[in-house]
């Protein structure tokens, strides 16, 4: 009954192979992430919540050109522009975004805004914890999205108290 013997060996070999994988994985380093006990890791290109970048001087890169808003298929970016003056200088260009809101109820994280931005001001960060029980908190303001001022940077003019501040 050569077939029976072949069967037994075949099964044994399959089990050995399977257990081989098991033992190999037992010995190799684990890839499971311990989120939320440990922070999640992302590929560089991951498109998470937006970050509004600053230049080396700490000025906002956004010049309120509205191109991101125009490119956005979900129409979720709202901007109000204002002019930089002698005393209030917020961005590197002539104009800055006095108001810059993204409505995360609508944003589909397509990255078109990032693509459209001529100054590389709007980028996708890796923030993904945007869930909320209250949809009204999902409209993020400029202040929520701005990158911190890089250490050592000296913005040329800091807005006087009460005015639109450099954050």
């Amino acid at each position: 009954m050569p077939n029976k013997i072949e069967d037994v060996f075949g099964v044994a070999a399959a089990i050995a192979k399977g257990m081989g994988v098991t033992f190999k994985e037992m010995m190799s380093p684990t890839v499971t992430e311990y989120y939320p006990d440990e922070p999640a890791k992302f590929e560089e290109r991951y498109r998470g919540a937006h970050v509004l970048q600053r230049d080396a001087n700490g000025m906002e890169k956004c010049v309120a050109c509205f191109l991101c808003a125009a490119a956005c298929p979900a129409d979720c970016i709202y901007i109000e522009a204002a002019e930089n003056t002698e005393t209030v200088r917020i961005s590197g260009g002539e104009r800055y975004a006095r108001v810059y809101n993204i409505d995360y109820n609508r944003c589909i994280f397509c990255g078109y805004c990032v693509e459209a931005c001529p100054t590389d001001a709007i980028t996708h960060g890796h923030g993904f914890e945007v869930a909320s029980f209250n949809t009204s908190t999902l409209i993020k303001r400029k202040e929520d999205m701005l990158a911190p001022i890089p250490p050592g940077a000296k913005p040329p003019v800091i807005a006087p108290a009460g005015g639109p501040a450099a954050h």
Partner: protein, 689 residues
């Protein structure tokens, strides 16, 4: 009609009148030849070389914008050589052009952007550092960014030819050429903004619109300028319930591309900090903010009580409110308040003109007539200051058709520069001057006579007699001051049989005086201090706490022309539609306010619905001359009214002494002008007062 010239453009057989430029002939055949410096209606410049085309038998490429068509000409616009020429021209224009598009106000509607996108070289071979000159402020209205300028000279030409101002010029030569204002470091001009709108790029930008938004972010609402009586169409750019800019770049309406500073920028009164946004009722001698229902109740109860007691009402209407509102107000006064005492500030004697022309048809000139007719006689008015659109039309008529212009005025006027005759007259000297001109006027094939309040009552009749005695076709324009002065008259805001006139009402002991959108208590121009009120109860509807509103018992905050729908009639009797652009919190259109008062009084049934369209339908049925074609005005055009063709009588006889124009200059607009930031910020405005 001269024979048409036959030519071929890109293999298409084209026929055009002799003298037509190749660029226009191509356009008629549906072939676009790109151009920067060529602008219809202005002199030729041939500065940009964008319009180069190949012409058979000509050794070099030709500028289509200066080349007249010729019999048998063969033009090619799509050859590789032409494509290359366009590309190189653009590359050349871009050599020192900054990469400003993201912050440039023109971005999105920039002709240079469009051209580069379509014909251009996306990449630059120019690696040297660009010459940068800082932006300059020519005036509160006009800003200039030299590196963005492509030296097409459109601005120079529109200012010189179109506006007749000539405030812009070119300094330096070659690569250093720069547009410069007439006073070295600043402009003193009409501040009309025509140069800004005509600039194909973002070199000239406006202080009002700068850096506020981008063109695609706005909605564009066609409104009618609420300042002078010329009735220019202004397209308001609206974002978030705010008016951000005005212009007329689509060249629609009776004014084409023309707008003066008031139509283009003086919409800014709407968010003046003193704008009334809640009704006020006088309590213990002081005006206090109350709710709309309380204010309306106060008015309605008092009106009803006066009606029951048999008291007298006086009603004063407005030169700014719509035809619908004026019509409704008149009906309200006559039918509900049963009073003949109704009037408005009369600024020109249209009644006398219509009366003098009775029995004749088609004798009222339109704005277009000033451009098309062969001769124009201007009497009294300084048109460039008081009626900028009419002045523009006459100038364009002279430039394009060499029209003969006669100016008979008290002082020097802009028309002098090209008039065939300029005569200075003292008041009372008009008819002697006209007699002197009789022979020359008689020799004209046709004539438009424009006159202001220097001619009133019998003088108007005498003027019409003079005109009719010339034996040529004559048309007339009687100038009135404000956006709907003409409409107020047409809708019958005039005293009924035995009714008091405006001045008499102010002095009379009325039980109630109701002032809708007017400021009759402001006193005489030049004399400080306002007139004190006599009426026992004063209701005022207005945008601001004017001298009249300050004395009121009830003030109801009204919406401006840009915040409501309806129709207005300009000084030449052309009807145009207003579309609501924005809402201002707390203020209501006058029509709605009057409707609510009627409802509170329990009298709404007699007056019908206070819906602009419904009221206008009634106007078309019942007001003589207003049975105008609706499609015309619904598509943003103007329809001329056909005024009453028969004797017009004024109840109580004419009182020409009560007709007076405010003679607002270019930077003034009656009471409303005080609340415009831009009118008060320009230097010329301060000099002009």
């Amino acid at each position: 009609m001269p024979d048409l010239v036959k030519l071929t453009i890109d293999g298409k057989a084209v026929q055009a009148a002799p003298g037509t430029l190749v660029i226009d002939a191509a356009k008629m055949a549906g072939i676009e030849i790109p151009a920067f410096c060529y602008y219809e209606g202005l002199t030729l410049q041939a500065a940009c070389r964008m319009c180069l085309v190949e012409v058979e038998k000509m050794p070099k490429m030709m500028t289509a914008c200066t080349l007249p068509v010729a019999e048998g000409m063969v033009v090619r616009t799509e050859t590789p050589q032409v494509a290359q020429a366009r590309k190189y021209t653009l590359e050349f224009l871009l050599t020192n052009h900054p990469l400003d598009c993201p912050v440039c106000d023109k971005g999105g509607e920039c002709e240079l952007q469009d051209m580069v996108f379509r014909y251009g070289a996306g990449e630059s071979r120019y690696t040297e550092e660009k010459v940068h000159t800082p932006e300059k402020q020519f005036s509160p209205v006009v800003f200039f960014d030299a590196p963005r300028c492509i030296l097409c000279f459109r601005c120079v030409r529109i200012c010189n030819e179109g506006m007749g101002v000539g405030a812009l010029g070119v300094i330096y030569r070659g690569v250093l050429s720069e547009i410069a204002p007439n006073h070295g470091d600043h402009l003193e001009c009409d501040e009309c903004g025509a140069c800004i709108d005509i600039c194909p790029v973002g070199a000239l930008t406006s202080g009002i619109y700068r850096y506020q938004t981008r063109p695609w972010e706005m909605q564009h609402v066609g409104a009618i300028c609420t300042h002078c009586g010329d009735g220019c169409k202004t397209t308001l750019g609206v974002r978030n319930n705010r008016i951000i800019r005005g212009n007329n770049r689509d060249h629609s309406g009776i004014n084409g591309e023309f707008l003066c500073i008031k139509g283009r920028y003086a919409f800014d009164f709407y968010d003046h900090p003193e704008r009334l946004q809640a009704p006020l009722v006088r309590k213990n001698g002081k005006l206090e903010e109350v709710s709309w229902s309380e204010a309306l109740d106060t008015v309605a109860n008092r009106f009803n009580q006066i009606r029951a007691d048999g008291g007298t009402f006086g009603v004063i209407g407005s030169n700014h409110t719509t035809n619908e509102e004026n019509f409704y107000l008149r009906k309200f006064a006559r039918e509900v308040l049963a009073t003949p005492h109704i009037d408005h500030h009369r600024t020109g004697d249209v009644t006398a003109l219509v009366d003098a022309l009775s029995g004749k048809t088609g004798r009222m000139a339109t704005v277009a007539d000033l451009y098309n007719r062969k001769a124009v006689l201007v009497l009294g008015a300084d048109l460039a200051r008081e009626h900028p659109l009419l002045s523009f039309q006459i100038r364009a008529n002279y430039r394009h058709h060499q029209a003969h212009v006669y100016a008979v005025t008290p002082g020097p006027v802009r028309e002098d520069k090209y008039a065939v005759a300029s005569v200075r007259v003292a008041s009372g000297g008009y008819f002697a001057a006209l007699e002197d001109l009789r022979a020359r006027l008689k020799a004209e094939p046709e004539l438009v006579i424009v006159f202001d309040d220097s001619f009133k009552g019998p003088d108007v009749h005498r003027l019409v007699e003079f005109g009719e005695s010339l034996g040529i076709p004559v048309r007339y324009i009687c100038l009135v001051d404000y956006s709907n002065s003409r409409g107020a008259l047409d809708m019958g805001l005039v005293p009924g049989e035995g009714g008091m006139r405006l001045d008499e009402m102010l002095a009379a002991d009325l039980s109630a005086l109701w002032v809708v959108g007017a400021n009759p208590f402001k006193g005489t121009p030049g004399v400080p201090g306002s007139v004190a009120r006599k009426a026992r109860f004063l209701v005022v509807q207005d945008l601001f706490l004017t001298e009249t509103a300050e004395q009121a018992d009830v003030v109801l905050p009204a919406a401006s022309a840009y915040e409501k729908s309806g129709t207005v009639t300009n000084t030449t009797g052309e009807v145009q539609r207003l579309k609501r652009a924005i809402n201002t919190m707390g203020a209501k259109p006058d029509l709605e306010i009057m409707g609510f008062i009627a409802r509170q009084m329990g009298a709404a049934g007699a007056l019908g619905p206070w819906v602009p369209e419904t009221v206008f339908a009634e106007i078309r049925r019942t007001v003589h001359g207003y049975d105008i074609p609706l499609p015309e005005i619904d598509t943003g055009g103007a329809a001329p009214t056909t005024p009453v063709n028969g004797r017009v009588t004024e109840a109580g006889g004419p009182r020409p002494d009560l007709i007076r124009s405010d003679h607002n200059g270019l930077f003034a607009s009656g009471t409303l002008g005080r609340y415009s930031k831009v009118l008060n910020s320009v230097l010329e405005g301060r000099l002009d007062r």
